[in-house]
């Protein structure tokens, strides 16, 4: 059962990390690259 707990933490924290990474990349892109198609460029 502890396996599920570790899996849960991995998924939960992993998702949070993923979303934070996505935000970071979008920020970098917005600062460096100001192309027209960046408008609302971050994905769903």
């Amino acid at each position: 059962m502890s396996g599920y707990l570790l899996f849960g933490y991995a998924v939960g924290l992993g998702l949070l990390g993923l979303f934070a990474a996505g935000l970071w990349r979008a920020s970098r892109k917005a600062k460096g690259d100001l192309r027209q198609d960046d408008r609302d460029g971050d994905s769903l």
Partner: protein, 234 residues
């Protein structure tokens, strides 16, 4: 000012990550295992703070939506969008951890229990907010439609909560927490809340930057948007 920001931002996120690590370590090593539910109960320490922060993000969407409808200033719209994105992301974590908890404790990935039903409904409410934004091209109309939806969606949340409580709950899960557990929970709240707040703020500035670099000439940015009847740009 920029130097302060360049120091503050990395420090902020380093602290957040550090606190997460500390919380996980503490929970696995020190926090007592709950008698009736076993080790899987510890997922609660991540699940509840994220759920509370999801609600806070939804509240921000509401406030920003009201602010936009009232003042028609674009930055309210940026904030609403930022908070909605974070709300959906955090709600995804709530759903995922809730399902894993359910699978471990009751053997099924999905049940129409009050908690899971509510999480799903909340997730759908704000996913729709995001899709509404993608579906409307005109910037002004998009802001108005999103804001109206943002207001209605948040007011719907307590009603969704009440109605989800009617779903059959074969596995009631309320337990009283020992002091050590309360401490652990409190510790988890800090990095989760820091993350929620930080992500909303970061997203807000991101949206604002994108809007400003792709906007029409300057006057639009600082003046309230002029809207005709039913929201078309006049």
């Amino acid at each position: 000012m920029n130097r302060t920001r360049n120091l503050l931002v990395p420090a902020y996120w380093t602290a957040t990550v550090g606190l997460f690590a500390a919380a996980v370590a503490l929970t696995l090593v020190w926090t007592p295992v709950e008698a009736t539910m076993g080790p899987i109960q510890k997922i609660f320490y991540l699940h509840l703070p994220v759920a509370i922060n999801t609600f806070l993000a939804c509240l921000v969407v509401f406030i920003a939506s009201v602010g936009f409808l009232w003042q028609r200033k674009a930055w309210w719209d940026d904030l609403a969008y930022a908070a909605a994105k974070v709300a959906v992301q955090f709600c995804t974590v709530v759903l995922a951890t809730g399902m894993i908890w359910g699978k471990s404790a009751w053997g099924q990935w999905w049940t129409w229990s009050p908690r899971l039903t509510f999480s799903l409904a909340l997730w759908l409410l704000y996913v729709v907010y995001l899709i509404v934004r993608l579906s409307v091209e005109s910037r002004a109309r998009r802001a108005v439609i999103s804001a109206v939806y943002g207001v209605v969606a948040f007011l719907d949340v307590p009603l969704v909560y009440l109605s989800a409580r009617l779903m059959p709950d074969i596995h009631p899960g309320s337990v009283s927490l020992a002091p050590a557990m309360k401490l652990t929970l409190g510790l988890w709240f800090i990095p989760v809340t820091l993350m929620c707040f930080g992500m909303i703020v970061a997203r807000y500035f991101l949206h604002r930057r994108i809007r400003q670099t792709t906007a029409a000439p300057a006057p639009e940015i600082n003046q309230p948007m002029r809207l005709g009847a039913l929201g078309e740009l006049a």
